[in-house]
C-alpha cells in the first residue's frame, strides 16, 4: 500500500533524518487552526486525536483534553470534517487518526473507513482494538487505502511481535513505557534495542512515543527511531498557550528531532 505515509518515511530515510510526529486533539480549542499550522511548525506526520469519553490508555492531559473537546461539541463527524478541511490546504503531510473503538464502531467500520478516506486520512491507530479483534476494521480500511497502525509495547515479546506486525502498514508505533500517555519515557538504550527488534520484525519504520516532553528526550530517541511522537506536552501547550504556544513547542521539538542525526 503506498500512501502519504510511505512517501513521507521514504523521504525522511533519503535525508537520513528522523521524523517528528505531532499529536493533537480534535475539538480542543481552535483545533482547526492548530492542525493547519502544524506542517509549517515542523510536523512530518500529524496524529489527530478523536475524543472519547472513556480514554482508558490516556493520562490526565489527554483525558482532560478529550473531555473539553466533547464538551465543546466535537464528534467523530466533526473530527473528519477538520481532517477534510486540512487536506484542502495540505496534500502531502500524512494524517493519522488516533482514538478508541466505540465511536468508530458506532459509525460502522465500513462507513468510517469510507468517510476517513474521503477526508484525506492516511492511517488509523485504534488503541483498544488489538490484532485479535481488528479483522473487520482492517479489511474496511485496507479497501480504502488507509493504513491500520499497530502499537508494540515493552510487554510485546518476540512471539507476540509476529502477531502485532502481521498485516500492519504505514509504520509501527512503539510505546516506550508500560503506562498511559504522558507518563515518563523508558530508558533510551532499551528503547533503541526495542526499535531495532520491531523494525526487523515488521520491515516498517518505527515511531516512538508516550511520555516524550522535552527536546532533549526527543533528540535522544531520534538517534535510534525513525520518528518521535509527542502528544500530552503539545496538548498541554495548546491548552495553556493556544496555537502560538503549541506551535512554539512543536518547532523546538521538531528541530531537535531533525538535528539528531547530524
Amino acid at each position: 500500500m503506498t500512501n502519504r505515509l510511505t512517501t513521507r518515511f521514504a523521504e525522511l530515510t533519503a535525508y537520513n533524518r528522523a521524523g517528528f510526529v505531532a499529536y493533537m486533539m480534535a475539538g480542543d480549542g481552535d483545533s482547526q487552526g492548530l492542525l493547519n499550522a502544524l506542517p509549517a511548525a515542523g510536523a512530518d506526520v500529524i496524529e489527530l486525536g478523536m475524543p472519547f469519553t472513556d480514554p482508558m490508555a490516556d493520562g490526565p492531559s489527554i483525558q482532560a483534553s478529550a473531555l473539553r473537546a466533547l464538551e465543546a461539541g466535537m464528534t467523530l463527524k466533526g473530527t473528519l470534517a477538520q481532517a477534510a478541511e486540512f487536506r484542502k490546504r495540505d496534500t502531502e503531510t500524512p494524517l493519522v487518526l488516533m482514538g478508541y473503538a466505540n465511536p468508530i464502531f458506532s459509525m460502522g467500520w465500513e462507513a468510517f473507513a469510507k468517510a476517513a478516506a474521503k477526508a484525506g486520512v492516511d492511517g488509523l491507530i485504534c488503541v483498544d482494538v488489538p490484532p485479535e479483534e481488528d479483522n473487520e476494521l482492517r479489511t474496511a480500511l485496507t479497501k480504502q487505502g488507509i493504513a491500520l497502525i499497530r502499537l508494540a509495547t515493552p510487554t510485546t515479546d518476540d512471539d507476540r511481535l509476529a502477531t502485532v506486525v502481521a498485516n500492519t502498514a504505514g509504520f509501527v508505533y512503539y510505546v516506550s513505557t508500560t503506562g498511559v500517555t504522558g507518563a515518563g519515557t523508558g530508558v533510551v538504550t532499551e528503547v533503541g534495542a526495542a526499535v531495532d527488534r520491531v523494525k526487523a520484525a515488521s520491515g516498517l519504520p518505527v515511531a516512538v512515543g508516550f511520555g516524550v516532553r522535552e527536546p532533549e528526550q526527543a533528540e535522544a530517541i531520534a538517534k535510534r527511531a525513525d520518528a518521535v511522537v509527542v502528544g500530552s506536552a503539545i496538548v498541554d501547550a495548546m491548552h495553556e498557550g493556544g496555537i502560538d504556544g503549541a506551535t512554539g513547542l512543536v518547532k523546538r521539538l521538531a528541530s531537535a528531532v531533525h538535528a539528531a542525526r547530524r
Binding site: D54, A57, M107, V127, L151, T155
Partner: protein
C-alpha cells in the same frame, strides 16, 4: 465476527459459550490496549490450568465453606409471598456470605489465582464498595497489598464501605475523572494495570472486561445457581418457574442463571436499574436503553449517544450505576433465553423498606430492584408458581443513604 472461530468451533449449547475467541455470539472479545494483551493471554492460560487442577478446587472449596460460609441457604419468604399475593418466593441468601454479598465468591477465586500466578499486588474497581470490601478482605487474608479504585461520588454515598476497606489495609483511591462513578473507577484501574503490568493482578468485580473475565467471573459466581438448583430440588423436588436477579454488570445474575440455562422451562429474568425511569434518560438500563458498542474490553450493550460517546448511568444504587452489562447477558438477551426488565429508584426504596419490615432482612438497594419485579411476577404466576430470587447483598452499607433519603438524621 472474528475470523478464527469457524462454524465448527462454535458451541452448540447456550451454556457452553464463550468460543475460543472469548465471544458470546457477537459479544465479548478482548478489546484492550496492546500493553495488556500479553497479560490477558497469560491470565487465560493460568485460569485454564487452575480449573483443571484439583488442588485449586480443593483450596477454593475449603475457603468457600470455612471462610465465606457456603453454602448459603435458600429461604421461603412467607410474608413477602403473602404480601405480593401470588407465587411462592424463595430467596437465595447470598447476603449471608462473609462481607455481606455475592462479590466474595469471585474475589476468592481471583485472589487464589493471583497467588498461584505469583502476582504481588491486587487492584480492583468498586461501585457500591461491596466488591472493594470483598477484594480487600481476601487480599488481607492472603497478605497481598491491595489498591481499590472508587468513583469520588461513590466514596461519598458508600462511606461505611470506604472505612471498612481502609481497616482491611487497602488503599482506596477516589477517582474524580469523568463523573466519578463505577465506569471511571474501571478506567482508572485499567490505567493502573497498563502501568504495573508485570506484578499486578486486576480483580474485576463483575462479568465484564476482556476475555477471560466474563467467563471466569461467571464460573466463580455459578456457585450461586449450582447450590440453589440443588437446594430447590432437595426442598421442593422441582425447579423454580423463574430465577430473578438484579443487574449492575451482571455477575450475581449470571451466577444464578448459568446452571439453569439448559433448563428451558425456567425463566431467567434480569432486573436493570431504571433510575428515574428509562424514558427520562436518567437510568442504568443498558439492555433496555442502550445499543451494542465497545467499552472496557468487550463488545456489549452500552448507554451511548449517537456519536458513540458513553452516557453516564444513573441509579440510586452505586452497585448498579454502570453504563454497560456483561457480554453474556447481551447474548442471552439477543437469543431470547433470558428476559430483561427494570425497576426505578423509587421502587427499590419501597422494596428496601418492605422486605426489612416483613422479613427482618435488610436487603441491599441492588437486590431491592429485583424484588420490585418479583412482586409483579408473583401475581403473574399465581399461587402455584415458584420464584427464586438472589438476595445478593445485605443493606447495612445502604442504611446511611436510605436514612438521608427518608430525611432522617443519624
Amino acid at each position: 465476527m472474528s475470523e478464527t472461530a469457524s462454524a465448527d468451533t462454535r458451541p452448540n449449547a447456550l451454556s457452553a459459550w464463550p468460543d475460543i475467541d472469548g465471544r458470546f455470539g457477537d459479544f465479548g472479545g478482548r478489546f484492550v490496549a496492546e500493553t495488556l494483551m500479553p497479560n490477558i493471554l497469560e491470565l487465560e492460560k493460568a485460569y485454564e490450568a487452575a480449573k483443571a487442577d484439583p488442588g485449586f478446587k480443593a483450596e477454593m472449596d475449603l475457603f468457600l465453606t470455612d471462610y465465606v460460609g457456603k453454602p448459603s441457604p435458600i429461604y421461603f419468604a412467607e410474608r413477602l409471598t403473602e404480601a405480593f399475593g401470588g407465587a411462592k418466593i424463595w430467596l437465595k441468601r447470598d447476603e449471608l456470605n462473609h462481607t455481606g454479598s455475592h462479590k466474595i465468591n469471585n474475589c476468592l477465586g481471583q485472589v487464589l489465582l493471583a497467588k498461584r500466578m505469583g502476582k504481588t499486588r491486587i487492584i480492583a474497581e468498586t461501585g457500591a464498595g461491596q466488591h472493594g470490601v470483598a477484594t480487600a478482605t481476601v487480599a488481607a487474608r492472603f497478605g497481598i497489598p491491595c489498591t481499590v479504585f472508587m468513583g469520588a461520588t461513590d466514596v461519598e454515598r458508600q462511606a461505611p464501605n470506604v472505612f471498612r476497606m481502609k481497616l482491611l489495609g487497602a488503599e482506596v483511591i477516589p477517582v474524580t475523572s469523568g463523573t466519578g462513578t463505577l465506569k471511571d473507577a474501571m478506567n482508572e484501574a485499567l490505567r493502573d494495570w497498563v502501568t504495573n503490568v508485570s506484578d499486578t493482578f486486576y480483580v474485576i468485580g463483575t462479568v465484564a472486561g476482556p476475555h477471560p473475565y466474563p467467563a471466569m467471573v461467571r464460573d466463580f459466581q455459578s456457585i450461586i445457581g449450582r447450590e440453589a438448583r440443588a437446594q430447590m430440588m432437595d426442598r421442593l423436588g422441582r425447579l423454580p418457574d423463574a430465577c430473578v436477579a438484579c443487574i449492575g454488570g451482571g455477575s450475581n445474575a449470571m451466577g444464578l442463571f448459568h446452571p439453569f440455562i439448559e433448563d428451558e422451562e425456567v425463566r431467567l429474568i434480569g432486573v436493570e436499574a431504571a433510575g428515574h425511569g428509562v424514558e427520562t434518560g436518567k437510568h442504568a438500563a443498558s439492555l433496555k436503553g442502550g445499543r451494542p458498542g465497545i467499552l472496557h474490553g468487550n463488545k456489549t450493550y452500552l448507554l451511548q449517544d449517537d456519536d458513540g460517546q458513553i452516557i453516564d448511568a444513573h441509579s440510586i444504587s452505586a452497585g448498579l450505576d454502570y453504563p454497560g452489562i456483561g457480554p453474556e447477558h447481551a447474548f442471552l438477551h439477543d437469543m431470547k433465553r433470558a428476559e430483561y426488565v427494570s425497576a426505578t429508584d423509587e421502587e427499590a426504596m419501597e422494596m428496601f423498606q418492605l422486605c426489612t419490615k416483613l422479613e427482618g432482612i435488610i436487603p441491599a438497594l441492588e437486590p431491592s430492584h429485583a424484588l420490585a419485579r418479583v412482586r409483579d411476577l408473583a401475581k403473574e404466576l399465581g399461587p402455584d408458581g415458584v420464584i427464586l430470587m438472589n438476595m445478593c447483598g445485605r443493606g447495612d452499607k445502604d442504611v446511611p443513604q436510605v436514612a438521608r433519603m427518608l430525611g432522617v438524621e443519624l
